[in-house]
């Protein structure tokens, strides 16, 4: 079974306490439609568990498929360097259909981030190394598409619909819930839709 090879540290973007029972790590791509589908589901899951769950987001841009994914990841990291990672992360997913420079500067404005600094960061690829490091760590951990979730370090191979995620998290907590997680029915790949 694939396991997380890069442990969660203070460098990670996390929501929820480090002492949480369960850490859910998501490797995601801002342009991936399945990640877009997963975004509100993950928020519901967070609501469900409150402080018992810590969410960590790491970048896994599939640039061959998604021409905007890398820049969007760098924009989120830029915001993160100024303490606004999650605000930017959320807005990028909420505006997934509009990814592109216009949106990035618009969002920077809304979050009161300097557009000059953003332009510089994008031109100089200031956050490329961080995004790349996330990607490589993901590959080493067996990330096999986006989104890929790890629950307490173990890759979640089931679907990411609400019921299945909640049930898998309960299991990791040692409090199995009656709702059984369903395996994705198709034989042709792991991927997002359920």
């Amino acid at each position: 079974m694939a396991t997380l090879k890069v442990p969660v540290t203070a460098e990670d973007h996390a929501q929820g306490p480090a002492s949480a029972d369960v850490t859910l790590v998501e490797y995601g791509d801002y342009e991936c439609p399945y990640c877009g589908q997963a975004y509100p589901i993950v928020q519901e899951v967070q609501k469900q568990f409150g402080k018992r769950l810590r969410l960590v987001f790491r970048n896994f841009p599939l640039s061959e498929m998604h021409p905007h994914a890398e820049a969007a990841a760098e924009v989120a990291e830029f915001a993160g360097a100024q303490g606004k990672f999650w605000e930017m992360h959320d807005k990028l997913y909420e505006n997934q259909a509009r990814l592109g420079e216009e949106l990035y500067f618009d969002l920077a404005d809304k979050l009161k981030l300097s557009s000059t600094a953003l332009r510089q960061a994008l031109e100089q690829r200031t956050f490329e190394a961080r995004v790349r490091a996330d990607f490589k760590g993901g590959v080493r951990s067996g990330v096999n598409g986006t989104p890929t979730f790890f629950i307490n370090g173990h890759r979640h191979d089931g679907s990411f619909d609400f019921e299945t995620l909640v049930s898998a998290i309960h299991q990791a907590m040692g409090t199995p819930k009656s709702a059984s997680g369903k395996l994705k029915p198709r034989i042709f790949a792991k991927s997002g839709s359920s």
Partner: protein, 168 residues
């Protein structure tokens, strides 16, 4: 008393993929509608052989698209990546273009699945290849193999580990 004929029973399913230490069966398969590729031509460098069930699996979780993204990591080891399925060369061609794949997809098309069969990676019940991975060393010996549950894209961690473990 006549003995039972158990020893004559023909297995209907392969018993598993070829293990590490086995010689990688040589083959020549179509890489494009008008070109073929022969495994032994690649002796001298490691080869990653990735059997997969079918072209056109769902977009973001697609194993071949993932490997194409990771290609630079494989190339650091001087390794050559080959995808193999029972789809025909024209199908592969369209699939590779659509998914921006930058490595050969081989058509194990006629006789169907013959190469997959030799590697123990044919799924007779479904008529497709298993999701099976092989890392072949520069001498043509299988250094690592893995057959993933068909519904689970195995990612690339095992491949990278196997490449790293190859003798320098």
């Amino acid at each position: 008393m006549a003995q039972s004929s158990a020893s004559h029973v023909v297995p209907i399913q392969s018993v598993g993929v070829l293990p590490a230490g086995a010689v990688a069966p040589n083959f020549t398969l179509r890489a494009t509608p008008d070109q073929t590729l022969t495994l032994s031509d690649l002796l001298g460098r490691p080869v990653i052989l990735a059997f997969y069930p079918a072209d056109w699996s769902p977009v973001c979780g697609d194993q071949m698209a993932l490997y194409s993204e990771i290609l630079p990591e494989f190339r650091k080891f001087g390794a050559e990546l080959l995808g193999v399925s029972v789809d025909g060369a024209w199908c592969h061609d369209a699939f590779a273009q659509n998914r921006h794949l930058h490595f050969p997809l081989l058509a194990d098309f006629e006789p169907k699945g013959a190469v997959a069969h030799q590697y123990g990676a044919y799924r007779a019940a479904d008529g497709v290849c298993e999701r099976a991975l092989f890392v072949i060393d520069k001498k043509g010996i299988i250094a690592w193999s893995y057959c993933s549950p068909i519904a689970v894209n195995p990612g690339a961690d095992g491949i990278l580990q196997a490449l790293e473990d190859l003798p320098k």
